[in-house]
C-alpha cells in the first residue's frame, strides 16, 4: 500500500522504468525457454497469465475507499502518465487487433479510422478537455447536469453514455475473449468470462486510481508488442531499421502486384473470411472522398464525446496539465497509429511478392497448405486456402482471411519466433482490457454518481456510494460479457457504432455548453434526445436493409445524428429564454483556468 501513496507519485518514473525493464527481461526469458524447446502453447499461456497477474497486482495495490481517489484518482496524475493511461484507454482491441487488418482489406477507405482516431484529439484539446477539467466534474453527465441544470438533462446524458459505452465494451470483451481463447486454448465463451475477471481485478478495488496505474502498465506492454514485430519484420525484409519512413517502395510494389494478379472476387465465397478485392492505395475521388471524410468526422466527433476518454482528463492536477496530457495522449496514440499502415503494407507485401520467401500467392497449392501458420489459422476457421479454379496454384482470390487476424498472424507469416506471437497476444489483451476497464468504469460511475447519488439518493454516504459503484461495475461487466459471448457483431463495426452514438447525442450539447453562453437546458435536452433518437433510428433503418442516404451507411450514422442534434439544440434554445445570470457566470468561470472549480471536491 505504501508503494502507491504519495511516495509512489514521486517515484513514478523509477517504478515504471523497473516495470518496463522487468517486462523486457521476461520477453528474453521466454525467448530462451523457446530455444530450450518449451512448447509454443506454454509460452503463449505464460505471456497472457504473467501480464494479467501484474495488472491485478497493481489493481490490488491501488485499492481505495475515498470518493476522490475512486472517481478521479485523487486528481494527481502527472500529464505524461495520464497521456499513457489515456492512450491505453483509447487504443482498444479494435485498434490493436483490427485496424491494420482493416487497412489491409479496405485500403484508402479504412485509413479514415486512422485520421479520425488521431485528429479527434485536436477537438478534445481545443473544445473540451481543459474546460471540463476546470469545471471539476467526476463524470460527463455531471457536467451536463450542472451546466444545464436539472435532473432530466443529466438523465439524458447518462442514457447516451450508457448506450455508447456499453456497445463499445461489448466489443472489447469480445476481443479479450478471442485472444484468451487462442492464447490459453479455452473455448471462446469461457475466454470471455476469463477476460472479464481480469478486467474487474484491475478496476473494482481502486476505481479510477487503479485503472489509471494499470493502464499505464498496459500501454507499455501494448506499444512494445505492436512495434517489435513490425520493426523486426522490416529488418528481415530490408525495408530499413525503422520502417515508418521507408516503406514507400512497398506501397508502389503492391500497386504493381495488384495490377499483375488482378483484384477479382472469389469464385465461391467462404463464410466468415474474405479475399482481397480493394486496392491498397487507389482513392477514386468523389464518393470515395465523401465516405472517407464522413467516417473521419464521425470518429473525430465521437472521440471528443466519448466519456471514458473525457473523464481521463478529470484526473490531472490542473487545467494546464489537462491540456498537456491531451498532447501526450495523442503522441502515445500516434506511435501505434502511424505503425498500423506500415504493418498492413508490409504484411501484404510478404504474402503477395513472389520474390520474398514468405509469399503464398502464386505458390503451389500443396506447398501453401503445408505451412504451419496456414494450418493453425485454418483449423479455427479464420483462414482458408481453396483451389477454386483447380489449377494447383494459389491465386489472389483463393486466399481467404479474416481481417481481424492480420496483426495476430503477422509474426507467424513473417516466420518470426513464437515468442513474438506470445508478445502480440499479450499486447492485444492489454489493449482490449485497458479499454474495457475505462468503459466499465465510465458506465458504473455515471450510474452510481449521476443516477444513484445525484438523482435517487443525494443523502447517501461515501461508503454506500462506493459500494453501489462496485456492485454496478460487476453487474454491468457480467451483462457485457453475456452479450459478448453471443458474438452479434464484428469488433470494428461495433466500435464505429459506439462513436456514432456518442457524437449523435453528446457532441453538440458538450461543445455548446462551453462555447455558447446562451445555450440553455431545453436546447440541450432537445439536442441530446433528437440527435440520439434520429441517429439510432437511422442506424435501425440502414442496418435492416434500407438504402443509405448519400452513402451514409451504418458506420456513419453519426453524421445524421449530429446534424439533427445541432439543429434541434439551436432552434429550441432560441425559442426558449436565455439561461439565468448564475449559469452564465458559471460558463465564464469554466473558461478561465484560475479560480476554484465550479463543482467542489467530494460533491
Amino acid at each position: 500500500m505504501a508503494l502507491i501513496q504519495g511516495r509512489f507519485i514521486d517515484n513514478i518514473g523509477r517504478v515504471y522504468g523497473l516495470y518496463t525493464g522487468g517486462f523486457i527481461v521476461f520477453i528474453i526469458l521466454m525467448a530462451i525457454l523457446e530455444q530450450m524447446g518449451v512448447s509454443a502453447n506454454t509460452i503463449g499461456i505464460l505471456f497472457v497469465a504473467f501480464t494479467i497477474a501484474i495488472y491485478a497486482l497493481i489493481g490490488w495495490l491501488s485499492r481505495t475507499m475515498e470518493v476522490d481517489a475512486y472517481y478521479v484518482a485523487g486528481r494527481q496524475v502527472p500529464a505524461v502518465y495520464n497521456g499513457m493511461a489515456t492512450a491505453a484507454d483509447w487504443m482498444s482491441g479494435a485498434s490493436f487487433v483490427a485496424l491494420a487488418g482493416g487497412v489491409y482489406f479496405g485500403g484508402y477507405g479504412y485509413m479514415a479510422f486512422i485520421v479520425g482516431w488521431t485528429g479527434g484529439y485536436v477537438l478534445v484539446n481545443s473544445l473540451m478537455a481543459p474546460y471540463l477539467r476546470k469545471f471539476g466534474c467526476y463524470t460527463v453527465p455531471d457536467f451536463i447536469g450542472t451546466r444545464y441544470g436539472g435532473n432530466f438533462a443529466r438523465f439524458c446524458a447518462v442514457v447516451v453514455l450508457v448506450v455508447a459505452s456499453f456497445t463499445y465494451v461489448t466489443a472489447q470483451i469480445n476481443a479479450t475473449g478471442t485472444i484468451a481463447a487462442r492464447a490459453l486454448h479455452i473455448p471462446f465463451s469461457v475466454g470471455v468470462w476469463f477476460g472479464l475477471l481480469g478486467i474487474l481485478l484491475c478496476s473494482m478495488l481502486g476505481g479510477m486510481r487503479a485503472v489509471t496505474w494499470t493502464q499505464v502498465a498496459q500501454y507499455i506492454v501494448l506499444i512494445i508488442a505492436y512495434l517489435v514485430p513490425v520493426i523486426w519484420m522490416s529488418n528481415v525484409q530490408g525495408f530499413g531499421i525503422i520502417p515508418h519512413f521507408s516503406y514507400g517502395g512497398a506501397v508502389e510494389r503492391i500497386a504493381e502486384l495488384e495490377a499483375e494478379y488482378g483484384l477479382a472476387k472469389a469464385l465461391e465465397p467462404v463464410a466468415g473470411v474474405a479475399v482481397l478485392t480493394t486496392p491498397h492505395n487507389a482513392p477514386m475521388g468523389g464518393m470515395d472522398s465523401w465516405k472517407f471524410v464522413t467516417l473521419a468526422i464521425c470518429m473525430m466527433a465521437g472521440t471528443a464525446s466519448l466519456p471514458h476518454i473525457l473523464m481521463r482528463y478529470f484526473t490531472t492536477p490542473s487545467v494546464r496539465s489537462a491540456r498537456k496530457s491531451v498532447a501526450w495522449s495523442l503522441f502515445f496514440i500516434f506511435l501505434l497509429y502511424f505503425t498500423a499502415p506500415a504493418l498492413a503494407t508490409l504484411t501484404k507485401l510478404q504474402l503477395l511478392d513472389p520474390t520474398l520467401p514468405t509469399a503464398v500467392i502464386g505458390k503451389a497449392f500443396e506447398e501453401v497448405q503445408a505451412l504451419t501458420w496456414v494450418q493453425n489459422w485454418q483449423s479455427v476457421g479464420m483462414l482458408a486456402v481453396v483451389d477454386q479454379n483447380g489449377d494447383g496454384f494459389v491465386q489472389l482470390n483463393e486466399f481467404f482471411m479474416r481481417p481481424d487476424i492480420v496483426v495476430l498472424a503477422t509474426p507467424e507469416i513473417a516466420g518470426l519466433p513464437y515468442v513474438i506471437s506470445g508478445l502480440v497476444a499479450a499486447g492485444g489483451m492489454a489493449a482490449a482490457m485497458s479499454t474495457a476497464d475505462g468503459l466499465l468504469l465510465a458506465i458504473a460511475n455515471a450510474l452510481s454518481h449521476d443516477l444513484y447519488y445525484k438523482i435517487i439518493d443525494p443523502k447517501a454516504d461515501t461508503a454506500v456510494r462506493l459500494i453501489v459503484a462496485r456492485v454496478l461495475l460487476v453487474v454491468i461487466g457480467a451483462a457485457a460479457a453475456l452479450i459478448a459471448s453471443l458474438q452479434l457483431t464484428g469488433i470494428l463495426g461495433a466500435v464505429a457504432w459506439a462513436f456514432c452514438f456518442a457524437c449523435s447525442g453528446l457532441f453538440f450539447p458538450l461543445v455548446l455548453g462551453v462555447w455558447w453562453k446562451r445555450a440553455n437546458t431545453q436546447g440541450a435536452i432537445a439536442g441530446m434526445i433528437v440527435g440520439f433518437v434520429t441517429g439510432s433510428a437511422y442506424l435501425y433503418y440502414v442496418y435492416n436493409g434500407g438504402a443509405p442516404w448519400i452513402g451514409l451507411d451504418h458506420l456513419r450514422f453519426g453524421i445524421v445524428g449530429m446534424a439533427c442534434s445541432l439543429v434541434a439544440q439551436i432552434v429550441v434554445t432560441l425559442a426558449t429564454p436565455a439561461p439565468d445570470e448564475e449559469t452564465q457566470k458559471m460558463v465564464d468561470a469554466t473558461r478561465v483556468p484560475t479560480g476554484p472549480s465550479v463543482l467542489a471536491a467530494g460533491h
Partner: protein
C-alpha cells in the same frame, strides 16, 4: 469571477477563441481537405511514398501532434499574459 475583471476575462476569451479558430482551421485542412484530395496528391511523391497515401498514413497525424503542442504552448502564453496561472495542487 467578480464583476470588475469581467472585461479582462472578455479580452482573454477573445484571444483564446481566435487561437481555437486557427487551430480548427488547420485541423480541417489536414483531417478533411487533404484526405479528400488524396487521389490527386498520389501523383506526387514524398520520401518515396505517393503523397496522398503518405499524408493520410503519417503526414496528417504528425501535423495533429505538432498542432496540439503548438496550441498548448500558445495558450500557456496567453494564460501567462493575463495572469491566469494556477497553482499546481498535486
Amino acid at each position: 469571477m467578480s464583476v470588475e475583471n469581467s472585461e479582462v476575462v472578455d479580452r482573454y476569451w477573445a484571444k483564446t477563441r481566435s487561437l481555437t479558430i486557427l487551430v480548427l482551421v488547420l485541423w480541417a485542412i489536414f483531417s478533411l481537405i487533404i484526405p479528400w484530395f488524396a487521389g490527386a496528391l498520389n501523383s506526387m511523391s514524398f520520401l518515396g511514398f505517393p503523397l496522398g497515401f503518405y499524408m493520410i498514413a503519417q503526414g496528417s497525424l504528425i501535423v495533429f501532434v505538432l498542432l496540439i503542442f503548438f496550441q498548448n504552448w500558445r495558450q500557456d502564453q496567453i494564460d501567462d499574459e493575463f495572469g491566469f496561472v494556477e497553482e499546481e495542487e498535486g
